[in-house]
């Protein structure tokens, strides 16, 4: 597990109300059974943790923890 994925899983824990085992392949919305607004709230926590901007447009193609990690890594490197 990379550092980014570990950090995402830690940030995801408060949103994990159904006890899903969090890993790279976890689908954030469907596995955790959280609605679209909650996903956006979670992403705000991610943005603040990494001090980056993740525009909502990017989220439509971001489903798993690994997808999100790729977005974060691309944006932290750019910054």
């Amino acid at each position: 597990m990379t550092d980014t994925i570990a950090a995402i899983c830690k940030l995801l824990e408060p949103f994990n109300t159904n006890g899903t085992a969090l890993r790279a392949e976890t689908d954030i919305s469907t596995d955790l059974n959280i609605d679209s607004v909650t996903v956006m709230d979670f992403v705000m926590e991610v943005e603040d943790h990494f001090d980056i901007e993740i525009p909502l447009n990017v989220l439509s193609e971001t489903r798993t923890v690994a997808d999100l990690a790729r977005v974060i890594e691309a944006r932290t490197q750019k910054a």
């Binding site: 607004v37 705000m44 001090d51 525009p55």
Partner: protein, 402 residues
């Protein structure tokens, strides 16, 4: 073959669970509507306290007469968009009247309030621009943002410091920046802290749009909304509003002072590719806007009614959506089943309010949402308070005791 509707099964199941508990809380039928505050629902006369009929203007004799005359004069429908079929004199007249009311140079009317936001967001911002939107924005703002193709950045609700931080992160990027706020937020009834946001605007530079859907007609000395109340209209570049609340019709508007504003008519697909508002809706809106200007007692009465309901709920110890008094007064419930049960009990006792559940609400809240009308009598307000006392406050203490 994948059945396209399969993905909606969880929604169907949720509706079925709701129905099993009583009446369809999200599909009520008004069998007859007698006044802005009374309808027959399930054969019972019911006090309407969830219809956003803030000015209580829907049965105003002058508005009704204006609609009847417009239908007789201009017919039942416009059968096309304004850029294809042309405008009716009434559309122009309403735009001029609204511009006058708002103290703005330009105004464009839309067929619905939803389309006003779709049109304004997508007309103002394009794929190279960034829209910063409040996390609690109405769905029409989110959908308009998506339609625009702009980069979308969501900031924490009513948090100017959070917006400031996000603007700083995007400093130096190409394209324009549009910030979108609402005058009164429809679920909790709280207002945007406009002065704080305008302070951020002065430092960063962006164009600001205020959606006054729930505050138009309601707030400010002239009833122009939150910016009027705050005395900061000059700092707000664009205003959006709807005719389906204080105006008591259907439609919406966008307004501003920008010298190029009129070009938006040729750049907003939700304006260009839909039929223009019906003569009846435009004529009743025109009559209603004139009344908002001429009859400030409506705003005053609405404020008194809102304060009475807010104080009554406070005295019952209910957990409210916000501390400021506004015509949107939301009561927080413990969870969805208890909200549905209380909503059913309130309806059976003769008061209609809205039930609001996630994801339609912020912070996963389950709400019984009231909207106050200037047409409510003191007795109506007291009856609503008494019923909330019997159904909601009593329910809370029963749960606390068990």
């Amino acid at each position: 073959m994948v059945d396209l509707l399969d993905k909606h099964r969880p929604i169907a199941d949720r509706i079925a669970r709701m129905l099993a508990m009583g009446v369809n809380a999200v599909g009520v039928t008004n069998e007859k509507v007698m006044s802005p505050t009374r309808a027959i629902i399930d054969g019972r006369e019911t006090i309407l306290a969830g219809t956003n009929n803030y000015m209580g203007i829907t049965f105003d004799p002058d508005c009704v007469a204006a609609g009847q005359e417009a239908m007789a004069t201009f017919g039942t429908g416009t059968t096309g968009s304004r850029i294809a079929n042309g405008s009716y004199a009434l559309h122009r007249e309403l735009e001029a009247e609204l511009a006058r009311f708002l103290g703005r140079k330009h105004c464009i009317v839309f067929t619905t309030g939803y389309q006003a936001n779709l049109g304004m967001m997508s007309g103002l911002a394009g794929p190279r621009d960034t829209i910063f939107l409040d996390a609690d924005s109405h769905s029409s703002i989110y959908d308009g943002c998506t339609l625009s193709g702009a980069k979308l950045v969501r900031f924490r609700h009513n948090d100017a410091t959070d917006l400031d931080k996000r603007l700083a992160r995007s400093e130096g990027e190409e394209g324009g920046r549009l910030v979108v706020l609402e005058g009164i937020y429809s679920m909790l009834g709280d207002r945007a802290p406009l002065a704080d946001f305008i302070e951020v605007k002065r430092r960063h530079g962006f164009q600001l749009l205020a959606d006054e859907a729930h505050s138009f007609g309601v707030l400010g000395p002239h009833g122009r909304g939150l910016a009027d109340e705050a005395g900061l209209e000059a700092d707000v570049d664009f205003v959006v509003g709807t005719f389906s609340k204080s105006v008591g019709a259907i439609g919406g508007f966008g307004a501003g002072d920008h010298p190029l504003f009129e070009v938006l008519r040729y750049a907003m697909r939700p304006y260009m590719f839909t039929a223009s508002s019906s003569p009846v809706s435009i004529a009743t809106s025109l009559a209603a806007v004139r009344k908002l200007a001429a009859e400030p007692w409506r705003r005053q009465k609405l404020r008194e009614n809102s304060a009475r309901l807010h104080a009554g709920f406070k005295a019952l110890g209910l957990d409210l959506g916000c501390d400021e008094v506004s015509p949107v007064i939301a009561v927080k419930c413990a969870d969805e089943p208890s909200a549905i049960a209380m909503w059913n009990a309130l309806l059976a006792a003769g008061v209609y309010v809205n039930i609001a559940v996630p994801p339609g609400t912020p912070n996963k809240l389950c709400l019984l949402r009231c909207s106050v009308s200037a047409a409510h009598t003191d007795a109506d307000i007291d009856r609503i308070i008494a019923l909330f006392g019997e159904v909601v406050a009593a329910g809370h203490s029963r749960r606390a005791a068990s």
